[in-house]
């Protein structure tokens, strides 16, 4: 019998009511008295020297209040990278300044060099078009290989387009090279992990407010992590004292990574609000989102798998070029390194591996973490190469994987890429996949498809990810400039209802529903009397926000710790109320009682006593019932899964249609199965979108060719199948109190190789056995070309 409340239940989401009735409050829905509007003037060339900017005509246009250029921000700081990566030779990475507005040079199409503030958005837009910028176009740096070969530079002052040349694990390099050199079999695959645009449906928006009476600033912004945004603005960019800036991230319409980062527009609206003494609003058009949001992926990789003739893995080696775009976004240096290289062992007992990543500046939008962040790139390389290896060895692809899996009794397991996986059971995942995907019935389905003139293929793969980001001590050693704990405050009000202030931010994940399930279970009270407060630095203690499938594993653990403190204090109060020793107080189902007696008091009575402390041991216990906890995880968490995709390929057109997709995941314990399933669905859509449809491309001049929904193929309802999703194979995390692992990114990490493996399998069944790889997106044109080359 499924539970209807608490951990493991699937109550309907309470936040849905406002979203379904048009009462959500997203940043652009907030109107303030006296507000003004900002519009940015953006570069139309990819690389250019700013010779002059004439703003005089714009300044005299109707309604215009101010015009800003890069000159106005030369004395403030740059937007920093949050992670220091050292190259193999020990040299620190190159960190060119990322200014609020471009100064001296523009470095990608869309790079903002001026901003107009006017009474209306239309007036600001008209005036922005009247700014006359004399920009001397320079040759653009677009292709990574050419960028590293010399020639034009993105940043003249650093003298190279290479940000860093990173090796992992350097001590394993010689052993890996030797293993590959002497291996009985080596599979080699070169592949591209295509550049993607996150495209949260809500475009970025920011409103800056300054109160001249108090000197306080407020920023309403589309952020996944308001405290991190505050820290970056205050400590690095504008120098505002942290206690003078309140950052509010209200309802946020999706993020997928792109709203982790601080962007120059946020600093601009705050600076302009101070100058004008009026609120300043800015909302991106979708075109601006394509030009300026941090993009994702964009790796070019060569991977080698060395193995015995029987398929036993001996070594993995990868060489990757990772595009970081024109400037370093906040997580951009961590994504291709410690969120990628550390996952290259996959689910396997490979004895050694080596990863080399060269990060490359180009005249394109910055590239940073996008749903999965490094882990999809690792999974795709490895799981595509394993499929190719299986074909070369004449082995079943699942059998090859099973042969090399870490076995259930080997956990905790120190994997060759440097992480220690706490729990997992990959054999169970594959067993479940075989059952749910009906793999034994595949040949019959293939025959039926063949009768229609099409080709049916099946692709399988597994994945491992490192989530619950992250243990501060470990990431500090690896170069992180921040800690990655989280925080929560549980405030029990006098009348017994509860506000829980959390550092995680919900922008689709359903925290307002799921987090109360945890607290309600612990306190034995109705979850309807518990509310979550998030997204406002003036209301919550602190928080590192939501990304990396961390909300429940890290912030949820902080909620548990704070609730434990509440119970401990409440026990003291209850002991006094029942005139008993604290050690004798038991707490269950919302009642405090003394074993062996009929004495008991309810949680609500204790809460009231805490706030009306008459006859209260005031010398021993403080009044009130509110506790805060910070939680720093001991390790990453390690969700894993096994995916199967079945496709039909039309040999006449090359069109690929997904007929079935089965995802079996181990997320450890599950708090709300309905929400978890929904998270997997969304991840699958983004992974399938990457595999079949999405591609962000620039031409050789650095002009973006896919800057609207008419040019960038977002997955639509008719592109996708119904999914089969299962998360019943659970090996709970051993180091957080909920035993949870995180589910937000899994679908996007695990699905691309399954799709491409399926397409290759289909082509082989049609006799095209010479086709060993097709780069994503596996579009009709690419498939047709591969079949007819």
């Amino acid at each position: 019998m499924p539970k209807d409340s608490g951990i493991g239940a699937s109550p309907k989401r309470r936040e849905d009511i406002r979203f379904l009735t048009g009462l959500g409050q997203y940043t652009d829905d907030i109107s303030l008295t006296g507000e003004t509007h900002a519009v940015f003037a953006r570069s139309q060339v990819a690389n250019g020297i700013i010779k002059s900017i004439d703003t005089s005509a714009a300044e005299n246009m109707p309604g215009v209040l101010a015009v800003f250029t890069g000159d106005d921000f030369v004395d403030v700081g740059g937007n920093p990278a949050g992670w220091l990566i050292n190259s193999r030779d020990g040299e620190p990475m190159k960190e060119p300044k990322r200014p609020v507005l471009a100064h001296g040079k523009v470095r990608h199409v869309g790079d903002a060099y001026a901003a107009v503030i006017a009474e209306t958005a239309e007036q600001a837009r008209d005036a922005a078009e009247a700014i006359e910028a004399d920009i001397d176009e320079q040759p653009a740096v677009v292709d990574m290989k050419s960028a590293l070969a010399g020639g034009a530079l993105v940043h003249d002052e650093i003298g190279t387009n290479q940000c860093f040349d990173w090796g992992w694990i350097e001590d394993n390099r010689a052993a890996t090279d030797a293993a590959i050199k002497s291996a009985p079999h080596v599979t080699t695959l070169e592949l591209v992990n295509n550049r993607l645009v996150p495209n949260a449906m809500e475009p970025r928006a920011s409103t800056g407010v300054f109160d001249p009476g108090t000197g306080d600033y407020t920023l309403y912004t589309t952020s996944q992590n308001p405290h991190l945004t505050r820290l970056l603005i205050c400590a690095f960019v504008l120098g505002i004292p942290e206690n003078k800036l309140r950052v509010v991230a209200p309802d946020v319409g999706g993020g997928f990574g792109s709203k982790i980062y601080h962007y120059g527009e946020e600093a601009l609206v705050l600076s302009a609000a101070k100058k004008l003494g009026r609120p300043v609003r800015w909302t991106a058009s979708r075109s601006e989102s394509f030009l300026t949001d941090a993009h994702g992926r964009d790796h070019v990789t060569k991977i080698e798998i060395a193995c015995e003739k029987d398929g036993t893995f001996l070594a993995f080696r990868t060489e990757t070029m990772a595009n970081v775009g024109a400037y370093l976004s906040n997580f951009s240096t961590a994504t291709p390194t410690f969120l990628h290289g550390t996952l290259m062992a996959g689910n396997y007992t490979v004895p050694t591996l080596y990863v080399n990543v060269k990060a490359v500046f180009t005249n394109t939008a910055p590239v940073d973490a996008y749903r999965g962040a490094g882990r999809p790139e690792a999974t795709y390389s490895l799981e595509r190469a394993i499929d190719k290896c299986a074909q070369e060895l004449g082995m079943d692809p699942l059998a090859l994987r099973r042969k090399n899996f870490i076995k259930p009794d080997q956990f905790p397991y120190a994997a060759a890429a440097g992480l220690e996986y706490d729990t997992g059971n990959y054999h169970a995942l594959v067993d479940k996949l075989e059952e749910l995907a009906d793999l034994s019935g595949f040949e019959a389905r293939r025959a039926a498809t063949k009768a229609t003139g099409k080709l049916r293929g099946i692709g399988v793969n597994t994945y491992i990810e490192a989530c619950g980001i992250a243990p501060s001590n470990l990431v500090g050693v690896l170069g992180s400039r921040v800690g990655l704990y989280d925080a929560a405050t549980v405030r029990v009000n006098a009348t017994g209802n509860i506000s829980v202030m959390v550092g995680a931010h919900s922008h689709g994940q359903g925290h307002e529903t799921a987090f109360p399930q945890v607290v309600a279970d612990m306190l034995g009270i109705d979850e309807g009397s518990i509310d979550i407060v998030h997204g406002d630095t003036s209301k919550i203690p602190f928080g590192m926000g939501t990304y990396g499938s961390r909300s429940l594993a890290v912030c949820g653990s902080a909620v548990v710790r704070a609730t434990e403190k509440i119970i401990n204090k409440a026990k003291k109060i209850a002991a006094h109320m029942m005139e008993a020793s604290e050690q004798d107080v038991e707490f269950s189902e919302g009642q405090f009682s003394i074993a062996g007696t009929d004495k008991s008091v309810g949680f609500g009575d204790v809460a009231l006593k805490a706030y009306i402390p008459h006859n209260f041991p005031i010398e021993d216990i403080e009044p009130g019932l509110e506790e805060t906890a910070f939680y720093d995880p001991a390790n990453f968490t390690y969700p894993a899964g096994a995916y199967a995709c079945e496709v039909e390929v039309d040999p006449d057109t090359g069109k690929v249609t997904i007929d079935r997709f089965t995802a079996v995941d181990d997320f450890g314990n599950v708090i709300n199965p309905m929400i978890v399933t929904g998270q997997v669905h969304g991840g699958l859509a983004q992974g399938i979108g990457q595999a079949l449809l999405e591609n962000c491309t620039y031409d050789e001049n650095g002009q973006i060719l896919s800057a609207s929904f008419m040019d960038y193929a977002m997955p639509r309802a008719s592109d996708l199948p119904l999914y089969t999703v299962d998360h019943s194979c659970q090996t709970p995390c051993t180091h957080n109190p909920l035993g949870v692992k995180g589910c937000g990114e899994a679908g996007a990490i695990g699905s691309p190789p399954a799709v491409v493996n399926a397409v290759i399998n289909a082509l082989h069944s049609g006799g095209h056995t010479d086709v060993t790889h097709i780069d994503m997106p596996v579009s009709p044109a690419r498939v047709w070309a591969a079949m007819n080359s």
Binding site: F19, R716, L720
Partner: protein
């Protein structure tokens, strides 16, 4: 400036707008009906879908002045008279057909349009009809289920989890 008046969610409204003002901007900025969202600038995403004279329209692709005299319905007017969710809204909540909520008003309005013209759509009908409404969160699976449920059909029979 152009003077206009129309009926929005059953109430008469009027305003003065520039000729270039889009219907969605009139709804959001002048009437403060911010439930209708803007997700793109090429009339592709459908987040701004409303009904004009009973027909689903992307309100970013219509000038406010063109709606002079029209009967406009937005997400704010969809709930039942007692404030409870209507059948479509309730189906979206029951089947977890929304996550961040940004595309949701457009999805609800597009669904109402579909079911008005095709009361018992099959899965392919639903997917085809919603092709002009982009959702980045749900992967559409639960939206499809919600629409089928709103039509009164047995969802589990056509769309098992």
């Amino acid at each position: 400036m152009t003077k206009l008046s129309m009926t929005v969610n059953g109430k008469p409204v009027s305003g003065n707008v520039e000729g270039r003002t889009l219907l969605v901007d009139f709804l959001r900025q002048d009437l403060h009906l911010t439930g209708t969202h803007v997700g793109c600038d090429t009339s592709q995403c459908g987040a701004c879908t409303v009904h004009v004279n009973g027909v689903a329209v992307k309100s970013c692709t219509m000038l406010a002045a063109e709606a002079d005299g029209a009967d406009v319905a937005t997400i704010e007017g969809q709930a039942n008279a007692d404030g409870s969710l209507n059948v479509i809204q309730q189906a979206f909540q029951d089947h977890h057909g929304l996550q961040c909520g940004f595309c949701t008003p457009g999805m609800v309005m597009a669904t109402a349009d579909l079911l008005k013209n095709n009361p018992t759509p099959n899965e392919a009908d639903v997917r085809h009809h919603l092709d002009g409404n982009i959702c980045r969160c749900t992967g559409y699976h639960n939206i499809v289920k919600a629409v089928l449920a709103a039509s009164g059909q047995d969802v589990d029979a056509v769309a098992a989890e």
